[in-house]
């Protein structure tokens, strides 16, 4: 990868990737505005799903589980597409990755819901939710990135 994006660890920002390092100094308002706008859209979608599928403290948080696993699938798809496109348009990663998907998925609600299930006396639910999210998130990001990468390399041939 000429732009160093192939070695990227952090999809939000990796200061070893030259374009990531320079983007804020070059276009601060555009980059931070794209992240904020994407974050608003992602958070509203998450809030809508959580309101549509509410859960009690002792029950499995299906909405947040679905949000987090699908968001991990989509970040895998997105990063594979951007990698194949040499990084893609300058605001694609800030808007879609950092903003929309970062705002859509949530770690704090996950942690607090696991804790709430423990406090509510439902350790089995807490453990199932804790483990299912970890396994689901990792499988989803792997599947999204790997399958998209394969499809794109087949299309390029």
């Amino acid at each position: 990868m000429a732009d160093g994006a192939g070695r990227r660890v952090d999809p939000d920002v990796d200061l070893r990737v030259p374009r990531d390092r320079r983007e804020v100094a070059a276009h601060p308002a555009a980059v931070l505005g794209a992240i904020a706008a994407g974050g608003v859209l992602g958070a509203l979608a998450r809030a809508g799903l959580q309101a549509a599928f509410p859960h009690g403290p002792a029950t499995f948080a299906w909405a947040t589980f679905g949000v987090n696993v699908s968001g991990c699938l989509l970040i895998g798809v997105l990063m594979a597409v951007l990698r194949a496109a040499g990084g893609g348009p300058p605001l694609a990663r800030p808007f879609l990755g950092v903003g929309v998907l970062g705002g859509f998925t949530t770690f704090s609600t996950y942690a607090v819901d696991v804790h709430a299930a423990l406090v509510a006396g439902a350790p089995a639910t807490a453990l199932a939710y804790l483990a299912a999210t970890v396994v689901g998130a990792l499988f989803a990001v792997w599947a999204g990135d790997t399958l998209t990468g394969r499809l794109l390399s087949r299309g390029a041939r």
């Binding site: 070695r7 990227r8 660890v9 952090d10 999809p11 939000d12 920002v13 990796d14 200061l15 070893r16 804020v24 931070l32 992240i35 904020a36 706008a37 994407g38 974050g39 608003v40 992602g42 958070a43 509203l44 998450r46 809030a47 959580q50 987090n68 968001g71 991990c72 989509l74 970040i75 895998g76 990063m79 800030p94 990755g97 950092v98 903003g99 998907l101 970062g102 705002g103 859509f104 998925t105 949530t106 770690f107 704090s108 609600t109 996950y110 942690a111 607090v112 696991v114 804790h115 709430a116 406090v119 804790l130 999210t133 970890v134 998130a137 990792l138 989803a140 990001v141 792997w142 990135d145």
Partner: protein, 120 residues
């Protein structure tokens, strides 16, 4: 009204995640994703603290769903873990995901216990 509060919180939380991540990487390097761990633990602490307080729906929408929700992330965490594993770092990958979960749960517990105790 709830929609506006969630939007306002997220409009601050998402850019703050990005800027915190940059600042942490500038200080500690980019080999291990300390920046994402920082925002995920800080957001879990704050949301845990909110859960221990008798807050209304407006505060929950602004600071909980909006700010903490957008400040913290599973998508970034999972992709980092995948990339660490691909770079040959099975151990760093496992430490990243399991360490984040353990630290986030601990932070949520501390936040909840603190405000619950202080609020009596």
């Amino acid at each position: 009204m709830t929609v506006l509060l969630v939007a306002l919180g997220a409009a601050v939380g998402a850019p703050l995640r990005y800027l915190t991540d940059r600042a942490v990487q500038a200080r500690f390097g980019s080999a291990f994703p300390w920046g994402t761990l920082t925002v995920n633990v800080a957001g879990s602490l704050l949301l845990g603290a909110l859960a221990g307080l008798p807050t209304g729906p407006a505060v929950g929408a602004l600071l909980g769903t909006g700010f903490c929700g957008a400040l913290t992330t599973w998508s970034t965490l999972s992709y980092e873990t995948l990339q660490l594993a691909r770079a040959g770092g099975r151990l760093p990958a496992l430490v990243n995901v399991l360490g984040s979960v353990a630290a986030g749960l601990a932070a949520a517990t501390v936040g909840y216990t603190l405000t619950r105790t202080l609020a009596g």
